[in-house]
């Protein structure tokens, strides 16, 4: 049963945990808005303070919860909007999983914040970086602790938005904004799926509360059986696939490596990439009612893992190599969830998030590391692929290599089957719109609609 009476310290701890990064964002962003950007020497300590407070609060909350409660608790902080039934209420669902993930998130964010403080020293975007990092942590905690679908969606959006803005951090070069748009577009698909799932859930279960859904209670399973559960679960899986770069969306992941190294580390090595896995873990009760969706998740995870494992073997830059290596593990975590090994999946997720963070943060050290390994072993370790590849005939092997090198041609497949048709439809509609306006308002001179515009992004 869901304990609806939250213990006082837990309520406060969670509020402080989520509130301090949000406050940090408000302070840094607000100061910049009124054209009084906070100088580096005050931003640094502010960020360190907020992250430490958040981390301590949530770890404490985890401990408090662990010693006092065993059931999931719904913490309510009042409603923002009561215009209609349900409204948007600020509710956090607290259980071992959500507090564990929240505590992990703040711990990792704290380390990254300490790292960034020195790494971004004297950088012109220092303030912007920390504002976005705070926004990200807030979003991540909302996703982790969300008690209803509205909070979940807001958190989900904040993670996506801050992610895209950090990819475009070095906006004076053309590549980062272009890649940020690409990432953002994929996130939109994921968000659309998420929103549809939310609407459907509310429609069929009559509530946006995730306590019912994720708590795995009997009522929810009664309300959500058969087709409804499957449709909602599939939509959730699409959302997860977009956010965690599962197939067929994987190609945005290496493109996201444009930001400063620590932001790549915390997003694509550590936290954001696992947000999808976490959501799947959270909705495990729902998945259990939708075997078809579960199968789909398992298949996607397995396919992604195989694809990423092959791709990472041929990547020659350290960040792409790590990106696909992460994806390999993310795929396996998804498979574990689909099978139903939830605890294992969570331990795997936490271990992977920590380990990959270290690897990403020390990515520039790869020359030093490999030299050290070489020196200790007395020779360069033999590379050139394992025996598996040598079994394949030459031509086929070369073709496989090409596919891995070109990352499965996913970009061009997406362009051809999604982007181009979409753009064509958009262009037709725009033409139709122009035509309609011409027809209705013949007196107004209309600007010609550009026809041969082939900009995809």
């Amino acid at each position: 049963m869901v304990g609806m009476m939250p213990s006082i310290p837990l309520t406060v701890l969670v509020l402080v945990g989520v509130g301090s990064p949000a406050l940090l964002f408000a302070v840094l962003g607000g100061a910049s808005l009124v054209n009084r950007p906070s100088p580096e020497r005050s931003t640094g300590p502010l960020a360190a303070g907020a992250m430490t407070v958040s981390c301590v609060a949530l770890v404490l909350a985890f401990v408090v919860y662990g010693t006092t409660a065993t059931d999931a608790q719904l913490l309510s902080y009042g409603a923002w909007s009561t215009l209609h039934e349900g409204g948007i209420a600020i509710e956090f669902l607290v259980d071992r999983l959500s507090l564990g993930f929240a505590a992990l998130s703040t711990a990792i964010a704290g380390v990254v914040s300490a790292f960034s403080n020195r790494y971004l020293h004297r950088e012109s975007g220092y303030n912007r970086y920390f504002a976005l990092l705070a926004l990200f942590v807030t979003g991540m905690l909302l996703v982790a602790l969300a008690g209803n679908i509205a909070v979940l969606f807001i958190g989900w959006e904040l993670v996506g938005l801050s992610s895209a803005l950090l990819v475009a951090f070095f906006h004076e070069r053309p590549a980062p904004p272009a890649n940020a748009f690409r990432v953002f577009s994929v996130y939109r698909i994921s968000d659309a799926a998420m929103l549809s799932a939310a609407v459907l859930l509310r429609h069929s279960a009559g509530t946006g509360s995730l306590a019912l859904l994720f708590g795995g209670s009997v009522e929810s399973s009664a309300a959500l059986t058969g087709a409804n559960a499957t449709i909602i679960a599939v939509l959730l899986i699409v959302a997860v696939a977009g956010k965690s770069a599962l197939l067929p969306f994987s190609s945005w992941l290496p493109r996201a490596m444009e930001g400063p190294t620590p932001s790549s580390a915390v997003y694509y090595g550590s936290l954001s990439i696992h947000a999808g896995c976490f959501l799947l873990l959270r909705s495990a009760p729902l998945l259990e009612h939708a075997p078809a969706a579960r199968l789909l998740a398992g298949a996607l995870g397995a396919a992604t893992s195989v694809f990423a494992a092959m791709t990472t073997r041929v990547q020659t830059d350290v960040k792409s190599s790590l990106a696909y290596a992460s994806l390999t593990q993310v795929g396996i975590i998804v498979v574990e969830i689909a099978i139903g090994w939830y605890t294992l999946a969570f331990v795997h997720l936490a271990g992977h998030a920590s380990f990959r963070l270290l690897q990403f943060l020390s990515a520039p050290n790869v020359l030093h590391d490999l030299h050290g390994i070489e020196a200790a072993m007395g020779d360069r370790p033999v590379s050139g692929g394992s025996s598996l590849e040598r079994l394949i005939p030459d031509r086929l092997r070369h073709r496989l290599f090409l596919i891995a090198l070109e990352r499965g041609f996913l970009d061009s497949i997406l362009d051809r089957f999604f982007v181009d048709p979409f753009m064509r439809v958009a262009r037709q509609l725009s033409r139709f719109d122009g035509w309609l306006c011409d027809a209705v308002l013949p007196a107004e001179p209309q600007a010609a609609v550009p026809g041969g515009d082939d900009q995809d992004e």
């Binding site: 020195r118 020293h121 070069r173 830059d317 590391d369 041609f409």
Partner: protein, 997 residues
């Protein structure tokens, strides 16, 4: 079977195409693999031109900046780093007799130039200018930065503080300028830039960038082909050469999926493969398809090469020095790359042509788009009036004068302004900026009273000439006034391939220009076999574990087990390295001392066994004697050796820094100089060597002992080698020297800290050493040290001329005793060894600073190590060459001023005899001056010959130690004489100086 491009192709030297490509290759960045970073002149290919011409020419050709932006120079003018009197002096030289000519009735030319150079004309045209005119007070107030005369002249037309009157006056002046331009008639439009490549045409006319289409594929292929071991599955068929391998891998219909541009890609590749062309043949065929004629061949190909210059550059580097990369079975040729590039480009162009509805052959594409190119418009009346308006203000012209300007006046004035365009102004300001810095050094050297230890030195320390050693030498001399320091190129003349006990491969330790003949290995001495074995096993196990974690984390199943079981353990080193870097640095040291090897020695003696690399294993006694003799002669300490001589090389170790090697010793070819110092000491201590030297008349006292050491310039550690061998008689002295060095390195760490922004200005000296140690071990630290940044001078002469002068870690110091070198032979070999190294460092810093994203590699933060060869920006980009901004941010871009102590005729004779140095000096890529041995006067070499420098400022004196001068100050500090408190009492020159850095 396909004929591979790796096979010999008749005689490629006969092929004019090959010749053109070889010529053009000089334009490419000449940076080799990043783990052996060698500083070089970024614009080496332009050294045949005088510096200013070269940088401007290169800037235009390569699309880069020759100098800082004009606004940066104006900041320096405002802060006093550039002085107006230097600008005056330069203008006098530059304009010569024409300085007094009247220009368009405005005044003498020199006045016009001076006003424009010192105050500038804001560059604005078109809409920007309209905005300025409408939205700012440009038309209602006079400029606030007018020179004094102009101000007084204009004051005549306006009353003090009369806003309305001023507005009227400014408006009248503006109207008069517009009217004057109107009378002068139209000016011709500037010549249109005709794009060279098809891609440039399409970009200019249709905004279609085919480079953006093909570069991702091209970069992935090149990075894969050149990979030195980052990918676990390396590219197959690499032995076929770039072009052959490309055909082999991309010859499949799947290649059509490379992008929307790749529709015809498989067909083009298949055709190229079927025809069995070589790389050169393929290039020729592609060029014919593209319709590139012989007359434009060089231009077309150079544009083609420069489109992805970093990658093309590394291809060229590996082609020329395949021994500098570990992977040996590669056939890397620039022509192979070009062939591949043109194949991709043809596919992309065909698609682009289709999209813009051009259906002819590619060879006619440019003619077709040629008519559609945008035509530049002539400058508008407003644009032209804007410049005249500023001239009128700067020269304090009355509106009545402007109203009388005729066509001739305007034309003359506009022609003159063309000459003092933005580029020329930056050039003059830059020269003035350098002049002030240089002259300050000359002043200091001319005024400094030579100093030396009162008696024979207690011990001597030989350092590298590196400018980072200037500070530790100064501190050592302050701590231990009885010691003497000197310096020479930090490989101590031991040119060798070295392999330490823990190295996997030998690496060359000597300047790049030398390919060593000798191999010297480090071997473990026969102590305890068992301990040795267990240590080696220990090391191997650690390496094996590291490798499996590295690899396993990238594999699916092994990775899953690893992450699930041990993943969270990563948080321990992470938190330690990021949150407590100093602690982790100490833990690292503890770890090293426990597993670090037992006693070792260098196998310096010649052995018969064949060396793994080079010609000989070890040196013969005669060779060793030659090495020792040369260093003792060069540094001028022969014949007056103390009982103890320390020989100290240097290197730098830092984390998370792909450019780590750039901080190592330049004279060791981007390696660490400790082994050289150690080998040198071992040779000099060898009784057989001393015997040979004694026979040649160079006696080394039997009581004299040499000790090698290595200093880590990043964390300030000093490691001594072979301490156990120090004789008992020398031991007390050695201990004294060790203590002195210990104090000196702590003080030096403190001095270094003053340049770090993150360190408070008044920093306790006791905390400084821990701070620099933390920096070196900090994963999050993009500035472990500032390396060669701020280098500006090179002083070749006796230490007495510089001892006691605070040179702010800006001067390379080379010991040279002019009194023992009548024929200049020693100077000749010193210059030959030193100048290429120091000029390379200085010029690389210059270019990486003036254009940090063009010549330099931009900010480090998004760097992505690729193929173990270099870094890219973010997800994918051209290979970035040059230095990152974090390394150069505190630098001042100035050409190196080399001051040689000795007679002028000897110096000029020696310089003239060395063509490559002569070229650098003649074209002023470096400045050369002479410090007269007797009079102490400084003579600078100009185009007209040596010119005596007239000292401008006295050398200020600071009492105490170096800290008394630098403590609490962040920026550049001018040279001062540091006089110890005891000596100061009797010194009359004592002046208290205010800080003006």
């Amino acid at each position: 079977m396909h004929r591979s491009s790796a096979l010999p192709e008749g005689n490629p030297a006969d092929n004019p195409l090959a010749h053109v490509i070889d010529e053009l290759a000089h334009l490419l960045p000449a940076q080799g693999p990043i783990s052996i970073f060698i500083h070089h002149n970024t614009l080496h290919a332009f050294e045949h031109l005088p510096f200013e011409e070269a940088v401007e020419h290169a800037a235009e050709r390569l699309g880069r900046e020759p100098f800082l932006s004009e606004s940066r120079y104006r900041e320096k003018l405002a802060s006093g780093r550039i002085r107006a009197k230097d600008v005056d002096a330069l203008l006098r030289d530059e304009l010569g007799p024409s300085a007094t000519d009247d220009v368009a009735g405005v005044g003498p030319r020199v006045d016009l130039w001076r006003a424009v150079v010192l105050h500038g004309i804001p560059a604005a045209t078109g809409r920007e200018l309209s905005w300025i005119l409408e939205e700012t007070d440009a038309l209602s107030r006079f400029r606030s930065d007018l020179p004094a005369q102009a101000r007084s002249a204009l004051a005549a037309v306006r009353e003090a503080d009369d806003r309305a009157g001023e507005r009227g006056a400014v408006h009248r002046l503006w109207d008069a300028c517009v009217a004057a331009v109107g009378r002068a008639g139209e000016r011709p439009a500037p010549a249109a830039d005709i794009p060279i490549r098809h891609r440039d045409h399409l970009l200019a006319v249709y905004a279609v960038d085919t480079d953006a289409w093909i570069h991702p594929t091209l970069i992935r292929f090149l990075a894969g082909y050149l990979d030195q071991g980052l990918a676990h599955w390396s590219m197959p068929a690499r032995q076929l050469g770039i072009h052959g391998c490309f055909l082999e891998i991309y010859r499949t219909s799947v290649a059509g999926q490379c992008g929307p541009w790749a529709r015809t890609f498989p067909r083009i590749i298949e055709e190229d493969h079927a025809a069995g062309r070589t790389a050169l043949g393929s290039i020729a065929h592609s060029l014919a398809e593209l319709g590139v004629g012989d007359d434009e061949l060089a231009d077309y190909l150079s544009a083609e090469l420069l489109a992805l210059r970093g990658w093309a550059g590394i291809v060229r580097q590996i082609e020329e020095r395949p021994d500098r990369v570990p992977v040996r079975d590669l056939t890397v040729t620039l022509r192979g790359y070009l062939a591949v590039r043109l194949l991709c480009e043809r596919a992309a162009l065909e698609e682009a042509a289709r999209r813009v509805s051009f259906d002819g052959p590619l060879s006619e594409l440019r003619a077709w788009t040629g008519n559609r190119l945008p035509v530049p418009a002539p400058p508008t009346t407003i644009d032209r009036a804007w410049r005249l308006f500023h001239v009128a203000q700067l020269c304090g012209l009355d509106v009545s004068i402007v109203e009388q300007w005729s066509l001739r006046h305007v034309a003359e004035l506009e022609a003159e302004l063309e000459r003092i365009d933005d580029l020329r102004r930056r050039r003059i300001l830059h020269q003035a900026f350098e002049r002030a810095i240089r002259h300050r050094l000359y002043d200091a050297l001319a005024h400094h009273v030579p100093q030396s230890p009162s008696g024979p030195p207690a011990f001597q320390a030989v350092f590298c000439l590196d400018e980072r050693e200037e500070s530790i030498r100064r501190h050592l001399e302050e701590v231990e006034p009885a010691c003497e320091t000197c310096s020479t190129a930090g490989f101590f003349n031991v040119a060798m391939y070295h392999e330490s006990v823990t190295d996997a491969h030998p690496r060359p330790l000597c300047p790049v220009a030398i390919r060593p003949d000798h191999y010297v290995g480090e071997i473990e001495t026969d102590s305890d076999r068992l301990v040795r074995r267990s240590q080696r096993l220990h090391r191997r196990a650690a390496g094996f574990l590291g490798y499996n974690v590295h690899l396993g984390s990238r594999l699916p199943v092994r990775g899953a087990v690893l992450m699930t079981a041990f993943g969270w353990l990563a948080l321990v080193p992470l938190v330690l390295r990021v949150v407590f870097p100093w602690l982790s640095s100490r833990l690292g040291v503890m770890h090293e001392t426990t597993v670090g090897g037992g006693p070792t020695r260098l196998q310096v003696d010649r052995e018969d066994a064949a060396p793994p690399i080079g010609k000989y294993a070890g040196f013969t006694v005669r060779e060793m004697a030659g090495i020792v003799r040369r260093v003792l002669e060069d540094t001028g300490i022969r014949g007056r050796l103390s009982p103890l001589v320390l020989v100290i090389g240097h290197g730098s170790i830092s984390l998370n820094n792909p450019h780590e090697s750039a901080h190592d010793c330049g004279a060791c070819g981007g390696g660490r100089g400790g082994p050289n110092a150690r080998a040198f000491a071992q040779m000099a201590n060898d009784a057989r060597v001393r015997e040979v030297l004694a026979a040649e008349g160079l006696t080394i006292d039997a009581a004299t002992w040499f000790v090698g050491a290595q200093r880590n310039t990043c964390n300030n550690d000093v490691t001594f080698f072979d301490e156990a061998l120090v004789p008992a008689a020398v031991w007390p002295l050695f201990e004294r020297a060790v203590v002195a060095l210990e104090t000196a390195r702590r003080r030096e760490a403190h001095e270094r800290c003053r340049r770090f922004d993150a360190v408070p200005r008044w920093y306790p000296p006791a905390a400084a050493l821990a701070h620099v140690q933390g920096r070196a071990a900090d994963l999050a630290q993009p500035r472990p040290e500032y390396g060669h940044a701020t280098n500006a001078f090179c002083i070749i002469g006796r230490r007495t001329r510089t001892r006691g002068v605070f040179l702010d870690r800006r001067a390379f110091l080379v010991s040279y005793d002019p009194s023992r070198d009548d024929d200049g032979a020693i100077l000749a070999r010193i210059l030959a060894a030193v100048v290429p190294v120091v000029a390379g460092i200085s010029l690389e810093y210059y270019f990486s600073y003036v254009d940090p994203t063009g010549y330099g590699c931009g900010t480090k933060l998004p760097h992505n190590v690729t193929s173990l060869l270099g870094v890219m920006d973010g997800a994918q980009s051209d290979l970035r060459t040059g230095l990152p901004w974090q390394m150069v941010e505190i630098h001042e871009p100035t050409r190196l001023a080399i001051v040689v102590e000795g007679p002028r005729d000897r110096v000029s004779r020696v310089v003239r005899a060395n063509p490559s140095i002569d070229r650098l000096v003649r074209h002023r890529w470096i400045w050369l001056a002479c410090l007269d041995t007797d009079s102490g006067a400084v003579w600078e070499l100009r185009s007209t010959g040596f010119v005596a420098h007239t000292p401008e400022q006295p050398l200020p004196v600071v009492v105490g130690d170096s800290a008394a001068w630098y403590q609490g100050k962040r920026g550049f500090l001018p040279p001062v004489a540091i006089v110890p408190g005891s000596a100061a009492a009797s010194d009359e020159r004592l002046v208290r100086v205010p800080w003006s850095g």
